[in-house]
């Protein structure tokens, strides 16, 4: 592998329309499938899966049924093809930032300046990654885009040869001896026009090698400028300028269900497909996901939107799916779901270095992933490490992301804690309080605390935020009921409330 032989790469998904259809429908896995174009008797097979024995492209759909009784006949899925094409482009950005969307299921990548060994290893990873995402691709490397395309097609054959002219490994191929490789290619690989193909057939030229053996000037004299271009294509000399596409700037996917779905399973399948593409796009752009937003569109034209804050930003699809699945397990909707939208908020990957003596996590991935799952169950604003604010106001704290390493303790507080811990009533329970002659509570009603007060202590008056519109004032009492139980009650601007049990 030399840098010259690997200046371009072509990522190619054979039978692209068929693969795009199968990606979106798990029921088609392992079954013979044919794509048809046209309707009724005029329907003709355009692409056919490997399982459909005896069925060829170009035959009528009725004949396909006759030859392969269990075959599934489908028409193309345009939205699925768009999604698959975006996935392919996102994967190609893993090779180089200069990517051209050459056509449906084909991307050309400019590898000039890239390390061939690393590009080869990366290509192997991309092939495996796309296969996991339901898209089988081949990648060909060559000196020009055209030669790379030939190599990609060659790698996609069922019995690709591996000799000195071409090195083939799994779904990858790189051209070594171009002349020898092209010499054996059928002349159709140079894409002659129908009149040109007819003339070449009359001349008895079957391969590119036979065509390029003739002088280029002689071909030009007989077939004109088009003939010259054909000769150059057959010799692999055509060089064109790539038209690179921009990497994705928004990381979202949307899907409409027809018919609407009622269970989580088809939804999760589709969300995984979304996630696979979005994760690749994020990685291609050098981002990780910080938050995920899932919007379910209902049949009654309402929607159910939920945002998931990922405690550890990343592009781990399995982790995302566990978070989404945890959420969907608890979702109950009044109407069927007719669409879904998944969006990821990008962020730069976090950089950190732990201290030598830090008490870190045993399994950081499980820790962050499980926090995200908990967030999906109870709400991401209800999980975390509480950090009290500098205020005596009740519930003045924030929930923050837990620290990865538990820091050393700061020592004992100067004043020991007094009294039992407060167990809060959230929300506070309104109370009816009867006062005795000395204005002390002697009987409580409501809030589940009805009873006579056996003893009480107080009051303690607190107030704060007097400079703000939501200033607060409380008069706190501790009461012991005759039947047992210590409670903290308070007189506020809104009346008496039970703030909690002293436990």
């Amino acid at each position: 592998m030399t840098p010259l032989a690997m200046r371009y790469a072509v990522v190619r998904a054979g039978n692209f329309s068929l693969q795009a259809l199968r990606r979106g429908d798990p029921a088609l896995a392992g079954r013979p499938v044919a794509l048809v174009c046209g309707e009724g008797r005029k329907a003709v097979v355009t692409e056919v899966s490997a399982e459909a024995h005896g069925v060829e492209e170009g035959i009528p759909a009725a004949l396909a049924f006759a030859r392969c009784p269990g075959i599934v006949i489908r028409s193309r899925d345009p939205s699925g093809e768009v999604e698959a094409q975006r996935l392919l482009i996102a994967a190609a950005f893993g090779l180089s930032p200069r990517v051209e969307a050459t056509g449906p299921g084909v991307c050309t990548v400019d590898l000039q300046g890239a390390d061939p060994q690393r590009a080869w290893a990366r290509a192997q990873a991309i092939v495996a990654e796309l296969a996991m995402a339901g898209l089988c691709v081949t990648i060909g490397f060559g000196r020009t885009p055209l030669l790379s395309s030939h190599a990609a097609e060659h790698a996609g054959r069922r019995d690709p040869r591996s000799d000195e002219s071409v090195k083939t490994e799994a779904a990858l191929a790189v051209l070594g001896d171009e002349r020898a490789f092209l010499a054996a290619l059928p002349v159709a690989a140079a894409s002659p026009s129908p009149p040109q193909a007819e003339i070449l057939a009359r001349w008895g030229l079957r391969t590119c090698g036979q065509l390029t053996a003739l002088p280029k000037a002689g071909i030009g004299a007989r077939l004109g400028a088009e003939g010259m271009a054909l000769w150059e294509r057959a010799a692999g000399e055509t060089i064109r300028v790539l038209r690179p596409v921009e990497p994705a700037k928004t990381f979202a996917a949307e899907w409409d269900y027809e018919p609407p779905v009622e269970s989580a399973e088809p939804l999760l399948f589709r969300l995984r497909r979304f996630a696979e593409r979005i994760a690749l796009e994020l990685r291609g752009a050098g981002f990780v996901a910080e938050r995920l937003t899932l919007t379910l569109l209902m049949e009654d034209e309402t929607d159910c939107r939920r945002e998931f804050r990922l405690p550890e930003p990343g592009t781990d699809i399995d982790g995302w799916m566990r978070v989404l699945a945890s959420h969907l397990e608890g979702v109950r909707t009044a109407a069927r779901i007719c669409g879904a939208r998944l969006a990821a908020s990008p962020a730069r990957p976090p950089e950190k270095q732990d201290g030598l003596f830090d008490m870190g996590l045993r399994d950081p991935q499980a820790f962050w992933e499980n926090l995200a799952r908990l967030g999906a169950i109870v709400g991401s604003d209800r999980v975390g490490t509480p950090v009290p604010a500098d205020s005596y106001r009740l519930d003045s704290f924030t929930l923050e992301k837990p620290q990865e390493a538990v820091p050393p303790p700061e020592g004992q507080p100067p004043h020991p804690q007094r009294g039992p811990a407060l167990r809060r009533f959230r929300p506070e329970r309104p109370l009816g309080v009867e006062l005795d002659g000395s204005s002390r509570p002697w009987r409580l009603e409501g809030g589940g605390l009805g009873g006579t007060v056996a003893a009480c202590r107080g009051p303690w008056r607190e107030n704060g935020d007097w400079w703000k519109p939501d200033r607060w004032v409380r008069e706190i009492w501790c009461v012991e009921l005759v039947g047992g139980g210590l409670y903290q009650i308070a007189r506020t601007a809104a009346g008496w409330v039970a703030e909690g049990m002293l436990d």
């Binding site: 499980n370 109870v378 999980v383 975390g384 950090v387 007094r418 039992p420 407060l422 167990r423 436990d503």
Partner: protein
Amino acid sequence: MPRPPTTLQTLRQLLAKRFPQTPRASRGSHPTGIAGIDAALDGGLPAGRLTELVSARPSSGGQSVVSRLLSETRVARERVALVDGSDAFDPSAVPPDCLRHLVWVRCRDCGQALAAADILLRDGNYAVVVLDLRGLDERALRRTPPSVWHRLQRAAEAGGAAVLVQTQSPLAPAMPARLVLEEWLPLSASLRTRAEILDTLEPGRARAPRRLDEGEQRAG
């Protein structure tokens, strides 16, 4: 064909013969710092096992136990998760430094609390998990199938966390250890330090949980 077992002892012998298991090695315990509880549990909350602490009466000290547990684990720099079934934990009841190792999960109902506990027990990063089920709908809790508790027990064994389940009445079947706080605290307790209050706690042994019969379940 073997004869059907006639006594419980015979059944146990039969099960032991058919499903031989290596004895589970003890994985240590996490002291709570409360003399009465540590003594009853032979040193503290056993790792990889569930321990039920029943607060049979209001103000019997269950929440103060949590606050002491947070202090003890903070000194040991162990991570703690609190699954707060009825969202009753008050962070201001604990010194701020004793919250830095805590992951607090504020649940709304019994289903959320059990689902959260199931996830946390399998995590493997927590030394202690407190599952506080007090204040939740008692009937909903009693309708929880016994298999859920067995599942949590298996998860605790796999994850290695010591699990303190706080309830208002004996709830989980076949609990390896169950303690009950039966005495309520008087108003004078609010004048004492929390350490003094906890030193006087004397947990007792609890009765087996009462399951809802079929009629009650239907009514619920």
